[in-house]
Every structure is written in structure tokens, then in C-alpha cells.
Amino acid sequence: MKKFLKRAAIVIVLLLVAGFGAFLYFIPPFFVASPETFSKPAIDAAPGVADIADPGQRAIAARGRYLVVTGGCIGCHQVAGPQGPDYTKYLAGGLSFHTREGTFVTRNLTPDPTTGLARRSDDDVLRLLRSGVMPDGRVTSYRLMPWGSYTNWTEEDRHAVLVYLRHLKPIAHQIPDPAPATPMVDPLAIEAVYGGKDYGTPAK
């Protein structure tokens, strides 16, 4: 009887270890769950445009939504939640990029009056998308904010993106200013991207 209990205990411990190993191996389930498990929430999170009364503005905003969603803005301008991105705070920013030139955190793109894009004029936003120039004259690297791609949008598509961004739900989310460079985790890397909750303190 004692022997049986001992064996059972060993089996249970082994199962627990194996289960823990499997947990480590399969979570997050990037390589087992269907791709749609990951793409659907990211796409559905983009607010719709049906509530825009003017049909012309609605059509323009719909075009903007298509470009914002397929352009992958949420890939970088996301708020980190406990389990992956927090899509309820759509485009409120927060991923951090460590480069040899400094540490940059993605901005809050929602029209929040104190922390978001409501502080910026249309010209400011369009200039950034067209030329990568911030309202203070600083030029952002095309490797961080990929304006080298968005500059290829036609002026009309850029306008549509602006209309859609202005239509987002405002979310207060203060983003820290760029900070001086910290030593790279890997000295050969040119860039390290962190999605962490504390604006990406590099892993020790």
C-alpha cells in the first residue's frame, strides 16, 4: 500500500513537471492556435465608423480605418495588458524601442486632449506621416516610426488616416519623452523592441 502511494506520488510529480514544461512550451500558443485567434481581436478592436453621420466623412474614415488596420499601427502603438496587448485601449501607445540613439516610446494616437493627438494640429500629424518630423522639429528614424512607408501614401490617403485617428475613442495615457540611450542587451543589435508594462526596462 505504501509502495503504491509512493509510486502514485512519483507519477503525479512527473505529470506536474511535464505539465509545467508544456505550459512553458506552448504559452503563448503562437505555434498551435489558429492564426485567426491572434488576428481577429486586433482587427475587431479598431472602432467602426458607422456612427459618423455625414456619409462623405464616413467613407473617408472607412478608408482611413482600412489603412490603419492593414498598416499595422496597433503593432507598435499598443498598450501592454497582462495577457498580450490591451485592445480596449486602442492605439494608446506604449511599446518602447531601445536603439543606439536613445529610447523611444510609441505615442498615444487617440484624440485625448492632454496626452494624445488632440494636442497636435492636422499639419503636425500629416507632416509626421509624410516626413517623419515631430512638431518640435526632431526627425524620427524611419526604422522606428516607419514614415518611410507612410510617406508613400497619397495625400488623400494620409488625410483619410488623419480623419480616422481623429475619430478614435480618446484614452488618457501619458507617454514618457524619449530618453538617452542605455547599453544594448546585445551589442551587435541595432534596435531592441520591448512591449513591457514599465516601458521596457531591458531584461537583466
Partner: protein, 446 residues
């Protein structure tokens, strides 16, 4: 003080010219830069700024596109159409001076202040002070000896012809006679053109302007601006000067005609016009999927990772979409970007349409390997319409083949992987995505 600086400038100019004759162009540039303030003949009408301070402004704001030496080869430059100006040749499109002359300082100040519409060049006027802009222009003028040696001749602006239905009708005849349609099309939008794709003097791609979209005219869209482009030509591009083939009045008529081709931009359209506009857009995309696909690839960040970059973060020459940039997604593994060119052996040449779409929208390679949802953003691309996906595939089929065999993605050894996951899930550490410069493919070492 001003007088003194002017004389110093003149002396410096002479010294610099002699130095150039003796020691060549490089020495000259160093010398001019060292002298600081230079009053070039070109700048004679505008008070010259300080080239030394201009360099400070330039280094802070212009290098990302125009490069440290002003050759138009900054890190962002390979992504841009048209490419950033190469200041070392003295070839400028937007001028008020005779064919192949350098521009005046006022021309440059205007371009820097208001920007060049339809390109990535922003208007710096609200961001930089007038003095800063003047200084940076003075600095640009030290980048080629042409500003010293070839004083530009400002064109005489002939008597203007005000716009009227008659002038526009005459302008249409001039448009036909000068064969404008072979590049700009019968309607100014490229319809019926022989081709609208060209190369500039640096072999960079260039597209004939769509004359119905005046908000994209680099030098501005007033009749006078348009007239000036005919009158002076656009140096470095296939757009010639018509000063010898058309009279002054004809050029004004032509300018009035081109101005009359303007269509409404989407932001000033009414609702039915907007619906119409987007419907026409879709129609055009169906007619020419390759062009649409090119637009989508250009605007959906493909080249940001799939054109490998060098140590300075600049896309390597001749490696457009050839892949091989190493991206390490800690702890999931190494994911070198794929070769998207049409190369049969190492690119997408041997892939079926569905196999390409499977990667783009679901992140599954044709051997079944799954990609994590970042940085290859297949989750965003899964929202592309079927037509747009077809267009992207159609365009990728036309990308010139580059042979670059990129290694397969690799996962770390199991214990390393589990330890990485343990740190991530249990210790709540934040693993980075690391991006490495260089090409890990077979076309070139790191």
C-alpha cells in the same frame, strides 16, 4: 561688420577657387566648410547666412534623408520616391534660373520653407527660424563649387497671360504640339501615355506628375509656378525646358491649361463625389493590379524589414526586398526576413499565389513553419481585401530577382527555450525583439 564679412567672403571665395583648381573638389569643399561664412555670387542678392551654423541645423534636421555628406543617401533615402536631393551635383528641379543653372538662394529658401509638395520634404518654415533656414541654404551652397563658379541667370518672366477659356483652349493645343501626352497622358493623368515611369540622372525611379493633382506639384501649383517649370525645366529629370520650343505666351497658355486640369481633392468633395472617387480608385486597381500592389507594398512597411539594412540603418543597395535581415524574437527564435524578389531559387519565384498569401495573412510558411505574430504583421495583413492581396502578389512577381538564400527560421535549444519562457511567464521579464544590421543570406556576409 557686414562689409568686412563680405570682403572676407570674397577673398575666401578666390582662395577656395584656387584651392579647388590645385587640389580638386574634395579639398575645396573642406576649405569652404572651414571658412564658415561665404558670400557666393549666387547669394549676392540675399544676405548670406553662416554656413557653420547652417551645418549645425543641417546635421540636426536633414541627415536622415539627405545624408551626412549631402549626397541624398541618408538612412531613409532608399524608401523615398522621389529620392532626397543630392546637393553635391548642384542639380535642382525647382528653380527660377536658366536650364541647368544652379538655383538662386531665394529658390532654395522657398523650397526649404514651404517644402516640396508630393514628396517627403516638409515645409520647415514653422519649425525653423528664417535665420536657420537662410544659414542651412548657405551651407547647401558650399556643397558644390557650382554655386561659386557658375553664377545662375534668373529667367526673365515674360508678360503673364491671365487665364481664360480661350487661353486654356490654346494651351491644350500647345500641350498636344509639345507631346506632353506621351508622359502625362491625354488627360494629364497618364491615360494613353507611352510610359509614366522614368529614371532620374541618379537612376532612381520617378513617375510623371499627375497633372490633375496640383497638391502634389513639388514647386507649387499657381499658374506662375507651373509656367516656371516649363520655362526652366527640371534638372536631373526627363522634364525639359520648353524655352526654345514654345513662345512665352504659349507657355502661359499651357500653364493655364494645366491649372485647369485640377480635380477636387477628397477633402473638399461632397459625399456622392467621395463615393465616386473611391469607386474609380477600385476600378483603377482592378485594371492595373501591379501598380496597386506596388503602392501597397510601398505603404505597408515590407521594405522596412525585407530590404536588409547596413550598420547605419540604411537599406543596402541592390537588395530591395531581398530579405536576410536577422530578427531575433526572444525567446522564440531567429527569424531572418524572407527574400520577396521573383528569384526562382531563393525568392518567391517558385511559390504559388496561395503559398504567398498564406504567409502574408496567416504567418504560415509553405513548409508549415508558423511565424509569431510579430514583427511580421500577418495579423494586420489578414484584413487586406482579396483584390489587394492579389495585387500584392502580382507586384511581387515583378520585383527584379536578387539571388539571396536566406536561412530558415531557427528555434533555440529546448532548455534555452524553456528557460526563456520561464523568465517571461513566471519571472514576468520582458523579452526584447532584437534587430540586427547586415544580411545573413548567401548574397553577402554580415
Amino acid at each position: 561688420m557686414m562689409q568686412r564679412r563680405f570682403r572676407c567672403g570674397r577673398i575666401a571665395a578666390v582662395v577656395a577657387a584656387l584651392a579647388m583648381a590645385a587640389a580638386g573638389f574634395g579639398a575645396m569643399r573642406a576649405r569652404v566648410a572651414a571658412q564658415g561664412a561665404i558670400v557666393s555670387p549666387a547669394a549676392a542678392s540675399a544676405p548670406a547666412g553662416s554656413a557653420a551654423h547652417g551645418k549645425v541645423v543641417y546635421d540636426a534636421h536633414c541627415v536622415e534623408c539627405h545624408g551626412k555628406t549631402g549626397e541624398g543617401d541618408g538612412p531613409a533615402s532608399p524608401a523615398l520616391t522621389p529620392r532626397p536631393r543630392d546637393f553635391t551635383t548642384g542639380k535642382y528641379k525647382i528653380r527660377s534660373t536658366e536650364t541647368s543653372n544652379v538655383p538662386t538662394s531665394e529658390d532654395l529658401i522657398r523650397s526649404v520653407s514651404q517644402g516640396l509638395f508630393g514628396s517627403a520634404m516638409p515645409g520647415w518654415s514653422p519649425l525653423l527660424s528664417d535665420a536657420d533656414i537662410r544659414d542651412v541654404v548657405t551651407y547647401l551652397e558650399t556643397m558644390t563649387p557650382r554655386f561659386l563658379n557658375e553664377p545662375p541667370k534668373v529667367v526673365a518672366l515674360g508678360e503673364a497671360v491671365a487665364t481664360s477659356p480661350e487661353s486654356i483652349a490654346r494651351g491644350r493645343q500647345v500641350y498636344d504640339r509639345l507631346q506632353c501626352r506621351s508622359c502625362h497622358g491625354t488627360d494629364g493623368r497618364g491615360t494613353g501615355a507611352v510610359t509614366t515611369d522614368f529614371e532620374d540622372d541618379w537612376k532612381h525611379p520617378l513617375r510623371a506628375a499627375d497633372l490633375s493633382e496640383p497638391w502634389t506639384f513639388h514647386g507649387g501649383a499657381t499658374a506662375r509656378d507651373i509656367y516656371m517649370r516649363f520655362r526652366t525645366g527640371m534638372s536631373g529629370t526627363p522634364m525639359p525646358s520648353f524655352a526654345d520650343t514654345a513662345t512665352n505666351a504659349e507657355m502661359w497658355d499651357l500653364a493655364n491649361f494645366v491649372a485647369s486640369l485640377a480635380r477636387k481633392p477628397v477633402w473638399s468633395m461632397t459625399a456622392p463625389e467621395i463615393a465616386d472617387h473611391y469607386a474609380r480608385d477600385e476600378e483603377a486597381a482592378k485594371r492595373d493590379p501591379v501598380r496597386r500592389g506596388h503602392y501597397l507594398v510601398d505603404t505597408h512597411l515590407c521594405a522596412t524589414c525585407h530590404s536588409p539594412m547596413d550598420e547605419n540603418g540604411r537599406a543596402m543597395d541592390g537588395m530591395y526586398l531581398a530579405g536576410g535581415q536577422l530578427i531575433r524574437v526572444v525567446p522564440f527564435g531567429d527569424y531572418p526576413t524572407g527574400n520577396l524578389t521573383s528569384d526562382k531559387e531563393t525568392g518567391l519565384g517558385g511559390w504559388s499565389d496561395d503559398e504567398i498569401k498564406q504567409v502574408v495573412t496567416r504567418g504560415i510558411l509553405r513548409d508549415g513553419t508558423r511565424l509569431p505574430p510579430y514583427p511580421m504583421d500577418w495579423s494586420a495583413f489578414s484584413a487586406l481585401t482579396p483584390d489587394d492581396l492579389n495585387a500584392i502578389v502580382a507586384y511581387l512577381r515583378t520585383v527584379p530577382a536578387v539571388s539571396n538564400r536566406v536561412p530558415r527560421p531557427t528555434r533555440p535549444f529546448l532548455p534555452v527555450y524553456l528557460w526563456g519562457k520561464f523568465k517571461m511567464l513566471i519571472l514576468a521579464q520582458d523579452p526584447p525583439i532584437l534587430i540586427f544590421p547586415g544580411n545573413v543570406g548567401a548574397a553577402g556576409g554580415r
